[in-house]
């Protein structure tokens, strides 16, 4: 209809336009949609391929794969418990250290630092997030591990190694590597991510809420604790989960400092393993089609499920926080 009107009023070659539009528009829309769906297929493919590759391990060991801590290539017995333990413990240590640090940084950036300082300061923290993870691994291996071995671990063994209940966690030889060092490196790596989320959340708060609290004579900390934190709690937890997701999947940095031993020990100094670092180390040595390869892929699937759940929780919390705003 519109085309006929335009034909009659303007005449000439305009009548080509509707013809061209008839195929170009749907073609472009179709192409864009195809690329969107390709992303969907891609991640389904990753999950499916991992599950398919790990089927041999799952069918051989069943649920025992998740509860066994044996990793013995000679006897062809593989269990996921030790690397799962290492992944969870290092990530937990990482978060315990990272969350207060990240909060401090975010508080500094939003409430304390003057405008001219908070910009460059924020950029510096973001640059820390951009450093490739293998660089953290090298830094950890050559700088942090010697410090841990010579100063921090001996000090902890002397001070806490004889305290009842605590001594199992702080016993053993101070090699410098191990779960504590791994957690420490993870903390440095995830702090910028958590701090960035916290800063954005704190900044997005309506200033009038803070101003009214200041007007009543609150100190900065009062405002933070009584006004900002309750208001932004969900989103802050979402940011922490985001950091947890990073920590769970981190590979190269951990591989350098964890010690790479498949065992479960209470001591924070004992060498351990994580799912990602076990895969990185053992994968090149596994033959195609072997049970070992299948076990590693099954581990990859387990890691995928763990990080998928974590990230889904994080998204949900961050979105809810946004809705409140």
């Amino acid at each position: 209809m519109g085309a006929e009107v335009s034909l009659r009023t303007t005449g000439g070659p305009e009548h080509h336009a509707p013809v061209r539009r008839s195929w170009a528009d749907p073609a472009f829309a179709g192409l864009a949609r195809a690329c969107g769906i390709a992303v969907l297929i891609l991640i389904s493919g990753i999950i499916a391929v991992m599950l398919f590759g790990g089927r041999q391990a799952f069918s051989t060991f069943g649920l025992g794969f998740l509860t066994s801590s044996v990793w013995n290539p000679v006897l062809h017995h593989y269990g996921a418990l030790a690397p799962m333990f290492g992944t969870i413990v290092t990530s937990f240590i990482g978060l315990v250290i990272a969350v207060p640090l990240a909060f401090g940084v975010a508080f500094c950036l939003t409430e304390m630092a003057p405008g001219w300082l908070s910009g460059p300061l924020g950029t510096a923290v973001e640059l820390l997030a951009a450093v490739p993870s293998i660089i953290f691994g090298m830094w950890g291996f050559f700088v942090i591990v010697p410090i841990m071995a010579q100063h921090i671990q001996p000090a902890l063994i002397h001070s806490l190694g004889r305290v009842p209940f605590l001594h199992p966690f702080f016993s053993g030889a101070p090699f410098g590597t191990g779960l504590l060092t791994g957690g420490l490196i993870l903390a440095v790596m995830v702090t910028p991510f958590i701090a960035a989320v916290m800063r954005d959340v704190f900044n997005s708060m309506p200033p009038v809420l803070k101003e009214s609290a200041y007007g009543l004579g609150s100190t900065r900390w009062d405002v933070m604790r009584r006004v900002v934190l309750p208001w932004s709690r969900t989103a802050v937890i979402g940011g922490i989960m985001l950091g947890l997701g990073r920590a769970l999947g981190e590979t190269m940095a951990i591989t350098f400092v964890i010690g790479n031993t498949n065992r479960i020990s209470a001591s924070l100094f004992s060498p351990g393993n994580t799912i990602a670092s076990l895969i990185a180390l053992e994968f090149p040595e596994s033959e195609a089609g072997s049970l070992k390869l299948s076990s590693l892929l099954a581990l990859g699937f387990v890691l995928m499920v763990i990080s998928f759940i974590t990230l889904a929780c994080s998204r949900a919390l961050l979105r809810r926080g946004r809705l409140v705003r």
Binding site: I46, G104, F107, L127, F141, W221
Partner: protein, 294 residues
Amino acid sequence: MSTTMPDLASAAHRRHSGLLRRRRNIDHVVTALCAVATFIVLAALVSILFTLVSNGIRGLTFSTLTRVTTPPGNGGGLLNPIIGSIIQTAMATLIGTPVGLLAGIYLAEYGAGSQIANAVRFVSDMLLSAPSILVGLFVYLILVAPFGHFSGIAGVAALAILVIPIVVRTTEDMLRLVPLSMREAAAALGAPRWKVIMLVSVRAAKRGLMTGVLLAIARIAGETAPLLFTSLGNLNWSVSLGQPMASLPVTIYQYAGSAYDDWVQLAWTSALLITAGVLLINIVARVGLRGEDR
């Protein structure tokens, strides 16, 4: 009578000022702790940069940049990992960017309220923070295992998969910032929808989109884990995509823990090169984005 009133008032005042003092003290302590936390984080960054520069600068010579890797003790350089990193990063960017761009356009311009678009958005966000080693495993199973050997093309594929979600996210965010009135104005002139998107929305958001691509390049240039199972690394000179291909991050991984001083030195130099490149791209991207805001 006349003496009790001021006494009461001053007692109340003392009590209040005591509380106030305590609150002030807590505030000072917390403030100091936060400054310490910021200092620790900055100290970590400075320590990393200092370690890289002080250890890596010695190896940053002309021969390091122009010779290929050799067995330890023969004065080898980093030419093949540098070229390999450039080839793989560039090709992955060229492949991943159009897919991510179009998917982002789909989400921002066509996908409003559609269930598929919501699923794509969710899945793309998952892929954005999924462990990159899993992407390496995936590509190993579909591009390495069936052919029986590691290859540069597999490395490119793994990195391209990592590029896509970053570009999708920035494209969608940037296109949403383009005012609706601009699209309406173009549509009112009779432009077909694809022209409105490509010539108005995308052009208006061009700077933001470039930023996204730069951030993606910075991200994949330092990736190691996905390359271990795909392009693996190559100690000989090779630019063939069908063969295993060297890259700087994998060279760091292979050389850093070795017993040879000259290999460890090459690992430090690789680390310095990669970090300098990644941080430079990041700074450029952020400066570009800030220009967008003005």
